[in-house]
Every structure is written in C-alpha cells, then in structure tokens.
C-alpha cells in the first residue's frame, strides 16, 4: 500500500499544495484536474525530485520520505525527454536495469507487447514521440519497481494504441501487485481503466 500522509509543499511565493491519500498494491489511480493544480508536483514529491515541508510517504509501512530518488521503490515515465539522445532504444533500457535483470529477450518481449517491436536499435531521434513514450514504458515496467508514476505518458498515443498500453498496464499491475499513479487530462483514460480517481483542485 502506498501511503501519502498529509504532505504539505510550497515553492517560494507560489501555491501551497497538500496531499493525503492511500493506494492499494495492484490498483491504479488516475490523478485529474486542470493545469497548475499540482499533478506533476505530486509525482515529483513521491519520486523524490522535490522534498515536502511536512508529511510523509511510505510503501507497505516503510517510510521513504528522506530517501534519494534512486533508493525509492519508484519508477517514473515523464511527460517527455525520457530517453538519452545518444543511446539506442535498447541501450536506453538496459542502462537503467541492474545487471541481474539484463535479459535481452525480456526487452524484446516488452517491445512486442507495446507494439514497437523492431525499434530496438534505433536512436530516439529516429522514432516518433509516441514510440519514445512506449520505449520509456517498457523500461519502467522492466525496472520492476512496485510504484509506477506516469505523467501524461500516453497523451501522444492514438486511442487504440493507448488502449493496448492500458491493457498491458492493468494486467501487470495485478500480476506484480504494483501501485500505479497516472496523471491524465483525458476523461476517457480513467473510464477505460475503470480505476480510482483523485481529482485535485486549487
């Protein structure tokens, strides 16, 4: 269970944000709300790119509020710029995996599942934005962290492709007991996923 307990955060002279919710393992939570309401900030706080002034975050009762990003049980797919421009798609994935995880077949399988098979040896500049996002998703899934944060990661995909990704995501979340937070603008996403929703307001 992911617990976000009464987190308070404010950048200098900007809006105050408070968050308080829990998310079961195996469940998906759609974070919704208009621009500027703090959706990305929430993900940044969970991932550890920002530090809250008050409150705490825990996974299965283990508090990780003061851990650096790389020691948290988290993996993120950002809105864009998820890939290193100088590495091929396969290298982009393998660089982020511990050596014991490096299974070329698993990588190929991930590419197949998300409909981007054959792009393994391309450079990011040679594929489309939607394809780049799916490469990043393959990487996030292979990293096998229990909490997955998706920041508008599928906005660039057409609806049928997006559905395919959601299907893969849902079954993985169940199988691996992952908690998935997905920031999205599109009402269709949460409807299709049939998941819990967190509507943020200012």
């Amino acid at each position: 269970m992911l617990e976000v307990k009464n987190i308070y955060f404010q950048r200098e002279n900007q809006h105050e944000f408070t968050y308080d919710f829990t998310l079961e393992a195996g469940a998906i939570l759609a974070v919704q709300g208009p621009s500027g309401v703090g959706k990305t900030t929430l993900l940044d706080l969970i991932a550890g790119f920002e530090a809250p002034q008050r409150g705490g975050i825990a996974w299965h009762g283990q508090d990780f509020t003061s851990l650096p990003p790389w020691e948290r049980p988290i993996t993120t797919v950002f809105q864009n710029d998820n890939l290193f421009a100088h590495l091929t798609c396969r290298q982009n994935i393998e660089i982020a995996l511990p050596s014991s995880f490096k299974d070329p077949q698993a990588v190929d399988e991930g590419f197949r599942q998300l409909g981007i098979d054959g792009l393994q040896n391309r450079l990011p500049a040679e594929i489309s934005g939607g394809q780049q996002q799916r490469v990043a998703l393959v990487r996030a899934l292979l990293r096998d962290k229990p909490v997955l944060l998706l920041d508008e990661s599928f906005s660039a995909l057409d609806w049928p492709t997006r559905q395919g990704c959601f299907d893969a995501l849902q079954s993985l979340a169940k199988d691996r007991a992952m908690a998935v937070l997905i920031v999205s603008h599109d009402e269709r996403d949460s409807t299709y996923l049939d998941c819990e929703r967190l509507a943020l307001t200012i």
Partner: protein, 543 residues
Amino acid sequence: MANRPQPVKSVWQVAGTGALAGVALAGTLFALAFAAIAALLMATQASAITGGLSFNYILHVTGFTLFQALLSAVLSLLVAIPVALSCWRRQRQWNARLLVTVSFLPFVMPTTVAATGLIGVWGQKGFVSDILQAFGMAPLPPIYGLGGVLLAHVFLNAPLMLRVLTGALAGIPTSQWRLSSQWGLGPLQRFHLIEWPAIRRVIPGLLALVFLVCFTSFSLVLMLGGGPSVTTLEVSIYTALRFDFNLPLAALLSCFQLGICSLVVLILAVFTGPSWASLPDLYRACPEQLGDSSLPVKSVDGLILALFCGLIFLPLLALLVRGIGPHIVSVIQWPAFYRAALNSIFIALGSGFLATLCAFTLAHARTRLTVAGTPVAGLDIAVSLYLAVSAIVLGTGLFILLRGIADVFFMAPALVMLANMLVALPFAYRVLEGRMAGLAKSHDRLCDGLGIRGWRRLRYITLPAMAPEIGYASGLASALSLGDMTVIALFGSQQFQTLPWLLYQTMARYRAGEAAALAVILLILTLVLFTSHTLIARRFRRG
C-alpha cells in the same frame, strides 16, 4: 513520521564529491597563478625595478592596448555576425560548411605562421599587390601598423566567433523557424525577432574572450605593429622578462594587466547571459525562409561568403604556395624533424588531454554547484585568470618555483605541457561547461529516477553525450599547444625541441624555403590533430 523536519543537507551532499574535486582544482589554479607571479615579484633584482619605464609610458601603452583590443574585438564581431547569418542561410553550400569546419584553424595557428600568411596576401609583394600592379595600379601601402594588427586579430578571431554564432543560431528551436517561415518573415524581421535574440546572448562572452586575447597579444603586435608606437602591455611584460630580465617589473605589469582585464570582463559580465560555446549539430532540417532564394539575398550571401573565404583562405594559400615544393622532401629527412615532431605531438596530446580533463572536472563542479544553488563565479574566475596571465609569466614563475626542487632539463617538457595546458584551459572549459549545463537539465531527473549514478552515469551517459564537445575541446587545446611559440622559447633547447621551435631555428639560419615547408607541415599537422580528435570523439557518441 509526520511533521518531521527534513534533514539539512550540505552543499557537498547535494553536489557530490566530484564537485569537491573541481573546487579543489580551482583553488589550485588560483594558487598556481599567484604563486607564479609572487615568485617573480620576490626574485632578486639588481637594477631599478622600473627598468627605465616611466609611469606615463605605461599609461600610454595601457591606453593604446585597451583601444586596440576593443577595436579588434568589435571589428571581429562586426565581421563575424553577417558571415554567421550567411553561413546559416547557406548551410547546405560547400563554402559555408568549409568555413565553419575550419573556423578553429586561424585561431590555433602559430602566430608567426599566421603573420607570414597575411603578409603573403596583403604585403608589398603579396597576392593583392600583385593583382593591383597587373592592372597598372599602385601596390598596397605597407600593412605594418595598427591596420596590420587589426587585420591579423580579425583573421584570428572572427572565424572563432563565427563558429560560436552559428552554434547559437543552430540552437534556435525548429518550431521558431517554422513559425517564421509560415508567417513569411523577411530577412530583416527575422533578424530582429529570431536571430538577434539568439546571438545576443553569446555576444558579451565572445567580446570578452576576444578582447582578452587581443589585449594580451604580443607576437603579432611585434611582427605587424611596425614600430614602438603600436604596442601592448604584454610586449612590455615580454621585454621585461626576456630581454631585461627584470622579473619584479614583469610581475607588477602582469598584476596591472590582470586588474584591467578583470575590470573589463566584469563590465561585460553585467550584460552576460548564458555562456557561449555549446556546439549543437549545425546541419538540420530548417524550412526555407521567405527571401532565401531571392536574388538580392542570394547575391549578398554569396558576396559575404566569398569575401570571408578570401580573408581566411588566401593567407593559407599563400603559405601553401611558398611551402609546398622540394623543400618538404629535404625537411622530412632531417633527424631533428622527427624528434621535434614527436615531441610536439606528445606535448600537444598531453596538454590537450590535461586541459580537457581539468576543464571537464571544473565544468562538472560548476554544473553540480549550480544545481545545488551555490554561486560558481569563483570557478569561472579561476579559469579566466589564465586568459589574462600570460604563458611566459606563468612559465617563468613556475620555473623559479621549481628550480630548487627538480632538474630543470628534466622538467622542461613537463613545464611546457603544463603551461600550454593552462593557456588552453579557458577555451576547453567554455566549450564543455555550456554543454554540460544544458545536459544537466534533461539528464538529472532521468538519471536520478533510474538510479544511474556515479561512475555509471559518467561512463554511459555524460561522456558519450558530450563526446563531440570533448573532442572539440581537446582538439582545440591540442592544436593550440601544438602551435605554441611562447613557452617553448623559454624552455626549448637543442635537446628538447618542438616543431615551432625548429621552425624558428630554421628561419634563423636563412633557410626560408625549409621554414616555409615546415610551416606547411605544422599547419597540416594542426589540421590532422584537430580533425582526428573530433572524428575519434564522434565514434564514442553511441555509448
């Protein structure tokens, strides 16, 4: 766990130990420069410290140096801006590409060689006078004097500015070009709205750099100045050091020069935006702009490129015309040639590598400290110091500091390497620092989120991503030290010679033919060295 205060992290925890190494290095650079000057200041001095120089004379020289350096920097910029715009518009044209590719060459050429090439074009018996006379006109007046010095400074620095300015233009997002193309902006509107804002950010840094280079110029001033009226403070330092052996005077003048340079750089820093010298890929798709294929724009671009090609390539051609011939064969049969060439290459590679390593360490520290929210001016100053303190002051100071400790003959190669490294460091630093800061923005979150840290990040992410800049920086640094004629004049000997030293020695034996051949060989070697760095670097681009 609620309401628990966040642990306060020190700057070093945020910035990492690599940053500490950079700060330590910056401290060493400070210490080294001041130790060198202090060593000269404290050297015993038999005659009067003023060495016959009056205060008024120093003021006069300083005024002239300022005037000359400012004029040189502004002229170089005025030449470079239109050429950069034309190069960018005509980026698919061979001459524009060639100009940008060899833009480093005049800057790293040994100054003696550069001056010889310029005289071959603009001298009384040069190309231009020959053509004028063929048409029955009078030859050019002698180029010696302020005009010659300005010409040489533009020849050396305008191409470097061109490289940076086209880099800035290439950094403009494609979307802006698309908008401009869609809106149908003409060349002038485009300059006002898109191009000028991009290049304006790099101009203060460029002006400061070229100002410093011209302020501390001396061999060119001695060669082309035409007499004691055209002089620089650096000439006075050089003569105090080399010919009067008045070390304290040289140190005092150095401090004075350092003060003035710092003042000017500080003034320019007020206007400084982000630093120059990131080198984005130049050639990428950019939609055709309104007017690009119209006759007036085409002819203006053609004329600008042709004139600039003439300015840059004719002196090189003049050198080739003199140097290529049977003398090359005789030169490459000298045993001394191989010794000198090997020494030169080793020194160049060594100081190029050291300069790049130091520059990388400093740039890393700068990037990390910026992220940690710490001021980084100290790092910048530690490096820029070496633009204002001349190689000869450094070399002499270090020599005096070390002479009691180690064997001077044995030290000579190491000292030459070190001094050349320090001279090249500011350039390498600027090239790396701009790119690294840009990379940090996109890489930091990604790497932290993916747990790619420390050595792995350096090895698989930072180094490959920066390979082109590392290649450019080390190529530039190596080429600069390959062409060094200043430090080697201090430490060179028959037992330890480099190609520029051999070139000078050959000249001193009336051997004009062989000297010209050596100049050509040196030029080709510079080109090969620089190009091989960039080509090797390109191979490391992919992880």
